[in-house]
Amino acid sequence: MSARKSLDIHTEGDIVIAELSGEIDLSNARAIGSVVGGGVANDAVALVLDLSEVTYLDSSGVHLVFDLAQRLGGRQQGLVLVVPADSKIRRVLDLVNLEAVVPIARSLDDAKATARA
């Protein structure tokens, strides 16, 4: 049985919002990355990756985020993560100091504001 996951992508104006939930590990990180990356149209200004409902994230997931950041950056598109303050995955993101490279917002609203700023 592979890691439970679910993925929802929709667009709000000029930003794309991808909501992930469940666990992200070696079994699904690459696939998620492809789907999400592919879901960002060229004219979108930024991607908001909502990880509020993600319960497990390890280096595979971090790799996916970095990958996305690189790809989008290459197209002049922004990437903002949503990770609530009490989320379990905060720990791994802090350890790899992800926030130094990709902005992390505590709520979807904050993320959208950052993405549009």
Partner: protein
Amino acid sequence: MSPPRVPEPLAQRAETGDVTSGRLRDLQAITEAALSHLRLDELLDELLVRIRGILDADTAAVLLLDDESDELVARAAKGLEEEVERGTRIPLGGGFAGRVAATKSPVILDEVTSGNVLNPILIEKGLRSLLGVPLLVEGRVVGVVHVGRLEPRGFSEADAQLLQLAGDRMALAIDHARLYESERAARLAAEHNAARVQQIQAVTDVALGYFSLDDDFMTLLLERLRVALAVDTSAILLLDAEGEHLVARAARGLEESARRGIRIPVGKGFAGRIVAERRPVFLPKVDHTTVLNPVLLEVGVSSLLGVPLTVEGNVIGVLHVGTLTPREFTDEDTTLLELAADRIAVAIDRARQHGVARTLQRSLLPAALPSVSGFDMAARYMPSADDAHVGGDWYDVLVLPRGRMGLVMGDVVSRGVRAAASMGHLRTALRAYAHDGAAPGEVIERLNTFVRTADDRDMATIAYVVLDTASGELAYTLAGHPPPLVLGPGPGTGADGRYLEGGRSGPVGVLAATRFEEAVDVLEPGETLLLYTDGLVERRDQALDEGLAELSRLAQDDIDGADDLCQRLVEERGNRADDVAVLAVRRLALGVDPFELRVRAVPESLSTMRRSLSAWLAALAVGDDMAYDVLLAVGEAAANAVEHAYGPVDEQFTLTAEASDGDLHITVSDHGRWRPARGTNRGRGIDLMRQLMDEVDVTMADHGTVVRMRRRLVVGEVGA
């Protein structure tokens, strides 16, 4: 124009050798003057008078270095320059004084002209020669002192040497005076702070005296707070029952908010953010983009500082203060507000508890205790239903150094308002003494002294236990308090629990300088230690012994975990007339078998593996945060095994985990070889592992790779 003369470097300041005895006396007088004055300006004046005398100069002046701007600032002068405007600034290197400072050596000007001095006063006054020396402290320039004469070529090398000697003393005196000044400033600030803290305490002492949660009480509280922090508005918002909205409950300067029943969703606006983020927020500029509450804008609030109100780790609301003119709230302001918030939150919670107890006979408020690996702990506090009885009971679980835990159960003997205040002080003092690391007897002794010398000398009974989490050894002191109960592993063992009968002394706060007895015991794996207050065992119609026996039978009856035990006890032995508090600490049996799992080396199996390991960690009662770290680290090692191990054949890797001697040992072994990290991304796995675990060892051999990891499982993890 004759060039300035720099005297021969003074290789040695052989003081007495170069100086006549008369002049030596003069120098000594300078030192004495220096020591007798601590106010800098008085000091400088006196020193200049003496220097002028010694050197027979027409003028003497001192400039001090402003470190931040690298300028010399004229501070004092005697003689012709006396009307020199204080505060004249000379840049380092510029003019006469500037050069003295920059070269850090004496300079003699035989002939003063506008070419070699910056300060026009010197020329105006008709000064023709100047001698200046740097004031040095440990090689650092702190200023310049110079003397002048109306005749040209007025100063000799000997004068320069003398002035330098005087200058050295002056420099030390100045440094000393400045230190003293900054110390004074710090002390004044601390006193000011202390006064403010006292004001805040005055606020909350009021709070602790009230037990009905009505608007008058909160308004009074806010008014006091407003004055203490010198702000224009203050407000309290509380979370509604669903925990999704903040409701304005009371305000000063913003009364409309409460009147209109303004509601702010959690996460939105200023107050909503504070709840969501659980930390203070300072808003320098209030406008419609930063706040939701229209009243703030209508009143014209300009800056806001808010902190969460938390009780036992749960946010129950927000406390904020605001000003009508822009204000840069400082860290100190935030700390003071948090201090007030701590106590207001306790007061509100107590008021609620009391309100609840009045309407519901058995209202139980479970508390959050630190999560300690290897132990299952729970507590209950039930205030008495009787209004006149305000709780003086308290309990505490302290995480102490070197893997120990402090367990406290206390009961302040007075009733009413005093009990609450005393309890707070006792609790804080005991925590402080406990953290100092002393044995229980000593801790209680110090506490006794503290109570005896405090203003509100309330008697208290206390049971204090220090437990070594690795060995189960415990030391305890009972200061007039009922004995702790140790319960066997489980139902059906037949035996009643046993009471810890040693370490008995009188209550705290009765006799001065008394020794408190201490005894030792052991809590074996599977046993539960129960601390409680007398409300659990005392009944008017029953002897204490009987009460104790009953408690023992009841408790031993069916141990299903600390939480259930506490719940059951307060329900069955709860006491209308008295508060009841109970704390249960169960040492988990080490019968948790080592974990071993063979996992198919494919990505899809990682999730199941994590779930299994997670269940095993839960059986060990490992705290949530630590468990997550371990899962992450194992997840990385396992992912590596999957990725790097082998080709498409149906291979496996093995995961083992065991807890021994307070350490968690984990191995992940496979039959492949790890390839070196590809790019920057894969190597991260090992880095993460090393950050999460105390030790990581990767051994690659021909037959396979073994990753060994170790993590200390000691006390100190506060549960998520």
